[in-house]
Symmetry: C2
Subunit: 378 residues, 2 copies
């Protein structure tokens, strides 16, 4: 089997990740819920993972690294908890439903007004649109770092500078970039960085989180047991406890910690470079095939390791099924939870077949995938 669905979840993980989960399941108590060795081991592992993530993302405070079960939860906490009712929000057509749906909810229920920076037919945005759309009452910009559909990398540093100049909250969805594109939230002017653990970070499913810049206030989405200040009626104020009610997934976090350490040792830039070269090689192999349409602007070298395409007018699900059944190649078809991007690309009916690459894929696998696309197109 050739697994090219890494933008959905990286199937192959470093062995240290699996080992860390097994060790945790055999030895860990409940973090922050006791002072015996097993509970302390869980607490230490969680804290170490906060430190590794803070280092990876340029977050100045490890205690402002909050764990969630995935990036969707992080984005819901950020969007529901830091955007004020009635305020104006700028976002983009590139967004995933994990950004769009929480924003539509605020629009419907809390009078938040949304403006979308449009994507063109190649899925690209014009940064001047942000400046044009920002208003005195703009409360937040919410933006993905990389399109999950075309791999387009958004220059979040450029947007961050605008946001910081005007004192606007800047929330970034790093679901598709964390682990393979260097992120420095201080330098990039990011206030809240939301990430998932099981994609580019190569950690277990059930992990993810957010890094919060000093001074940013977020209202908890959930309240409950905190292991500290038990007599308070409401969730404690301090991060990370403020946003982490209940028992954390210390088993998964142990795996995530091992994964992030693997990335820190290897280098996110080195990982990203390999992934990009795989995607580029694939693109070059399929771009010239008669009947194949590739989405996105590949004149730019610096892109997320994702190539979405269609073959003639074939339904993307049928193509993906054929790739799976006839060639043993795992891809993802359909709408990719990015409805506005499909509208921009003109693929709402057909969807698209997405090939997404990871550190563990090989050029040989890419060549096989190119041959498969060519055969299906003929």
């Amino acid at each position: 089997m050739i697994y090219l669905d890494n933008a959905a979840t990286t199937l192959r993980k470093p062995q240290t990740v699996i080992d860390a989960v097994v060790t945790a399941m055999n030895s860990m108590g409940n973090a922050s819920r006791g002072a015996h060795d097993e509970a302390l081991q869980a607490s230490r592992t969680i804290y170490d993972t906060r430190c590794s993530l803070a280092k990876l993302f340029g977050c100045s405070r490890p205690d402002h690294v909050v764990f969630t079960c995935n990036s969707t939860e992080a984005l819901n906490i950020a969007i529901q908890g830091a955007i004020h009712p009635g305020s104006h929000v700028v976002t983009t057509d590139l967004e995933h439903n994990s950004v769009l749906r929480p924003l539509y909810r605020l629009q419907e229920e809390q009078g938040v007004r949304l403006d979308f920076v449009p994507a063109d037919r190649r899925g690209q945005i014009d940064y001047r649109d942000f400046e044009r759309m920002l208003r005195p009452d703009t409360g937040a910009i919410v933006c993905t770092h990389v399109s999950n559909l075309t791999g387009e990398i958004v220059d979040v540093g450029c947007i961050g500078r605008m946001a910081r100049e005007k004192g606007i909250l800047f929330i970034v969805d790093a679901s598709q970039s964390a682990g393979s594109i260097p992120i420095d939230m201080e330098k990039m002017g990011i206030d809240i960085l939301c990430f998932t653990g099981h994609k580019g970070l190569m950690g277990p499913q059930g992990t993810g989180g957010m890094c919060i810049r000093e001074g940013v206030e977020i209202r908890p989405l959930k309240e409950g047991g905190s292991g500290v200040q038990s007599y308070r009626h409401r969730q404690p104020e301090e991060y990370p406890t403020r946003l982490e009610a209940g028992t954390l997934n210390a088993h998964g976090i142990a795996g995530l910690g091992a994964a992030v350490d693997y990335i820190l040792e290897t280098g996110a830039d080195k990982i990203g470079e390999k992934e990009r070269s795989l995607a580029r090689h694939f693109y070059e192999g399929v771009a010239g095939i008669d009947g194949v349409t590739v989405y996105g602007d590949f004149t730019t070298e610096y892109r997320g390791p994702v190539v979405a395409l269609n073959i003639r007018d074939y339904d993307s699900s049928e193509v993906s099924d054929a790739l799976s059944q006839d060639y043993g190649i795992a891809t993802r078809p359909g709408a990719h939870c990015a409805p506005r991007m499909h509208e921009a690309l003109g693929t709402t009916d057909q969807g698209a077949v997405r090939f997404s690459f990871s550190w563990f894929n090989t050029m040989e696998e890419v060549d096989t995938a190119v041959r498969a696309v060519r055969e299906l197109a003929e």
Copy 2:
């Protein structure tokens, strides 16, 4: 090490649980996000686990078994999503902060009025208080199944009958009962059953969920990617997708499925019986020791496998530390996130040392723990 902190998390899991997580991490794609073998395997495992949980809890519809990252999340979804602003809610002094804090939030922010069925000095409630407190505008009863502090088992079947007669929503926190006390939500009249995966169910941390009776409407707490109906502005209406935005923790759920299957094969009643006999043996060993105060009413045989005690006026943390460092016995001291129960028991300052037992503990371990308590008391 003798691990007697199983009410916080069961450290020891069946080997099949760990094996299932490892297999999942080596082979699973993203459930509901593609149709290749790896994605389908994740979807099937998740569905099988829903079926096992539905069977264990007497939930008539596996698609009404919703996964969350722990019971705190399940309780927040239930309480924030099914209780209407301004309504009257009856709950008890036995509750954990995972019930209390979401309720206090509704009280402060949505005009919900709370009444607490009081616990006496032995941590017991009078069921007639429920009848006395129910009013025409009572919208919900929220109640734990077992006190995490004293092990008192609440007769949820009795409360469920009252609730159903009057058409009142009944939410049960099964964090301390699931896996060791048989639960049949239909027979017991439970509308929403909230559980965690990593305690009595012996699954991985980062798992949990809720079973929802047919016809009960719950508003989502989070919205986002659903893998279906991607062009809808809001989360799809159907359970379980309605409450499960983003990628599920399929790795953990695979382990939870193996754990629930282990319980179904072994029998929750058999597991509970052994755990209760361990707790009873411990209670009988320590109850007569001079200077030891045990909390709760042990004239009842049918109790959760928990014994909370104090030794003279020693700080509970110091006793727990001594047990850990001098005897290698893991317990939990302090407030146990159950503030009203400590007020009822008169232990707000001292806290209590909780010994909690699991299927994998032995009588020899209990005897060692009894000897340790005796020595500390002398």
